[in-house]
């Protein structure tokens, strides 16, 4: 075993070990559970950092695999690790963000009755994602893919005793499952064709002249993309993600940055050559991602709940990543995934500080409860929004620039124009959020709360506790990271796609200037409508109530689903229920009732009167004698 293998096993194994110990032995000891969870993630983070240092060399790839269940000569099930710049970088991002979220959660979740369980689930989430990132073959990927779905189900529904989180968790699980059907079929197709479906083998087989026909490649890519669409909340299957805001805010930070939704994008980056071998599918994906990015940007423009704004922005940014990947640049899409992980975690954790402080998700209510007293939150929110909007020199600028650049070379002008429009909208809704959240008057009002509903929340806020300091430090660290991550672009590009033209961080061309101008316009519009003194604080979309309702209601997609798919499913369930109750139960009940009734009927013969029996017996003998007499005696 080489050092890399040991490190890979440590990176995956330590969160799993932490999860198992916490969930089995430390349920009643929250402090120990948090410490163990953080320690496990720390080991995982260190191992991932070692992997990046050891393996992330241009063109390097390391595969170690062991067969644990041979099926027949050509097929078997194997377990292993695939280490190359892509997987190790992603592993570092996953462990780093999870570590930050865990540290933050020590403050945010303090006093929650499920504190230990929470850290156990976080470790489970991290393990599943690390396993997915480092997996060597597609079957293993599938297994961890489902584990990621399970962990997010558990965490979204963490406060399952309330109906809304329970429903949101169910919705997330079922909607992603719809896409996963396609994913499963795609994996099975590749498994049947290639036996082990080791990722480098799959990529080699998909290349022109490889073992797979172009037709098979297209079908497999389309099927795998179904899973990606479900997981990364794209196209028709995105409505689970805004509802997933019912989970604790640090969970949202994790789910939106490095784990759940990132899995889909990561898979596309992982199998990028396979997907690029199916140009028609990639073209469809490009348009789907573009429409999703624009549609969810409009939804973010009218949302009033700060977490929902962030959720829509995540879907929109995931759309950008997939556009970059679909346009042919693995490096640009993955680069945006990395920077997005940093600034989206930052945004959610800053939002969490405000939510923790104001006990409300509504931006209006947060603004009325002295948001400026939370200095770390303000810094985090502004830095994160600037990165989201793509303001130079924050991380989002560089990665979005790389994506727009790759679109410029690999897509039609219409796509590029719409993508630029989306960048402008992003700037508008990001700074609308900033101005609405921070521009309050200080008047107090009562409203709903999403902060952890446990005793003692009122005590905090006077003098920072250790937990609150952890929250602030985490946010500030991530804010610094947001400034730094943008310069990783060339480094990543050289390792992920050595052949691609290098895209320097400050290549200011027409495209970059146009993007910056659009971003400036978006921010200016937000300032005029929400930020300046005496602003009416009503967006231009909100002046058109019909449009605002349309945007605010997920473009009526949920209504459409309720009216069609859900209704059909319910009707089918009713029919199945009727069939079960009436036909199946009826048959068994009928059998039982028939037996009993038959018994009752036959019991009437048993009158109990001796003389009746005697008469019957005599009658029978007489009849027998008559018959035998006619037949001429006993034969």
């Amino acid at each position: 075993m080489t050092g890399a293998t040991v490190a890979a096993l440590l990176a995956q194994g330590s969160p799993l070990l932490a999860c198992a110990v916490v969930l089995i032995a430390l349920r009643g000891r929250p402090r120990a559970a948090a410490a163990l969870g953080i320690a496990g993630m720390g080991v995982s983070f260190a191992a991932s950092a070692y992997l990046v240092a050891a393996v992330a060399v241009p063109g390097h790839s390391f595969l170690a695999q062991t067969v644990f269940l041979p099926v027949d000569a050509a097929h078997s099930l194997a377990f292993g690790v695939l280490l190359d710049p892509l997987s190790t970088t992603m592993a570092l991002v996953v462990s780093g963000i999870t570590l930050a979220v865990m540290a933050y959660s020590t403050g945010y979740m303090a006093g929650d009755p499920g504190y230990a369980r929470y850290f156990g689930f976080l470790a489970l989430f991290a393990w599943a994602m690390q396993g997915l990132v480092l997996s060597a073959n597609l079957l293993q990927t599938l297994a961890f893919w489902e584990l990621v779905g399970l962990a997010s189900f558990l965490l979204i529904g963490f406060w399952f005793e309330r109906p809304a989180p329970a429903a949101a968790a169910r919705k997330a699980f079922i909607m992603t499952r719809v896409g996963d059907v396609g994913f499963l079929l795609g994996v099975l197709l590749l498994l049947r064709a290639l036996g082990l479906a080791t990722i480098p083998d799959v990529i080699a087989a998909a290349a022109p002249g490889g073992a797979l026909t172009p037709r098979t490649v297209s079908v497999a890519a389309a099927l795998l993309l179904m899973g990606v669409i479900g997981k990364s909340a794209q196209g028709p299957l995105f409505t689970w993600l805004p509802d997933a805001m019912e989970g604790p805010t640090p969970v949202s930070a994790l789910l939106h940055s490095a784990t759940m939704v990132a899995a889909g994008v990561y898979l596309v980056a992982r199998l990028h050559p396979l997907f690029m071998a199916a140009p028609a599918v990639m073209h469809a994906l490009l348009w789907l991602a573009l429409v999703t990015a624009l549609a969810t940007a409009t939804m973010a423009m009218v949302a009033t709940d700060i977490k929902r704004v962030l959720a829509y922005s995540t879907i929109s940014q995931l759309g950008y990543m997939l556009m970059g990947l679909a346009a042919g640049s693995a490096a640009a899409g993955f680069f945006h995934l990395v920077t997005h992980a940093g600034f989206k975690a930052l945004l959610f954790l800053s939002a969490g500080i405000f939510i923790h402080h104001a006990h409300s998700n509504e931006m209006q209510e947060i603004s009325e409860r002295a948001p400026w007293s939370q200095r770390a939150g303000v810094i985090g929110l502004v830095a994160g929004s600037a990165a989201l909007a793509g303001v130079i020199p924050f991380a989002g600028y560089f990665s979005k620039e790389a994506i727009l650049g790759s679109l410029g070379t690999g897509a039609s002008p219409l796509v590029v124009a719409l993508a630029y429009l989306g960048a402008g909208l992003t700037a508008y809704y990001a700074f609308r959020m900033v101005f609405v959240t921070l521009g309050g008057t200080g008047a107090r009002a009562h409203g709903g709360t999403d902060a952890p509903t446990h005793g003692g929340t009122g005590e905090r806020g006077h003098g920072a506790t250790a937990g609150e300091r952890a929250m602030q430090v985490t946010v500030l660290l991530l804010a610094v990271l947001t400034l730094v991550l943008g310069y990783l672009g060339p480094w990543l590009g050289a390792r992920l796609a050595p052949g691609e033209a290098a895209h320097g961080p400050f290549d200011v061309g027409v495209g970059a200037l146009a993007a910056l101008a659009l971003v400036a316009a978006g921010i200016a519009l937000a300032w005029v409508e929400f930020g300046r003194r005496g602003a009416r604080r009503v967006g231009f979309v909100e002046r058109m109530p019909a449009l605002a309702r349309f945007f605010g209601d997920n473009w009526y997609l949920d209504r459409l689903y309720r009216a069609t798919v859900i209704r059909w499913a319910v009707a089918l369930a009713r029919a199945a229920h009727w069939n079960d109750r009436t036909i199946v139960d009826g048959a068994t009940d009928g059998l039982a009732d028939g037996t009993i009734g038959g018994g009752r009927l036959l019991a009437l013969v048993q009158s109990g009167y001796v003389q009746v029996y005697l008469t019957v017996a005599l009658g029978l003998i007489a009849a027998l004698a008559y018959v035998l007499g006619r037949a001429g005696g006993v034969p």
């Binding site: 036959l602 019991a603 009437l604 048993q606 009158s607 109990g608 009167y609 003389q611 005697l614 005599l618």
Partner: protein, 102 residues
């Protein structure tokens, strides 16, 4: 018609009377008496047939005597059972003895 036929006819009559009594009467004692009538008919048949068929043996009479003995024993057992039933259910009417009905 020979003598034998007359004897057989009387025995048949006796048997039918016994059978009718057995089926029609509801008292256990009456039923036992009817049963004894039927046994008497059988005994009569045996004696008549062996005596009048021309043989000189007295086997039929012996069998008839044994039958009378058996009937007496049977009567003793049946009556003791009736007493037990009377003590149990205060009745020897068979219509009251239908606990075994379904």
């Amino acid at each position: 018609m020979t003598w034998l036929h007359w004897y057989l006819l009387v025995a048949l009559l006796l048997f039918c009377v016994g059978l009718y009594g057995l089926v029609q009467r509801r008292s256990l004692i009456a039923m036992l008496i009817a049963l004894e009538l039927m046994l008497a008919a059988v005994s009569l048949n045996i004696v008549a047939i062996t005596s009048l068929s021309g043989s000189s043996s007295s086997v039929g009479q012996v069998v008839a005597l044994i039958l009378i003995g058996v009937a007496a024993a049977e009567g003793a057992i049946a009556l003791s059972l009736f007493v037990a039933i009377q003590r149990e259910v205060q009745s020897i009417n068979v219509e009251n003895l239908s606990e075994l009905k379904g």
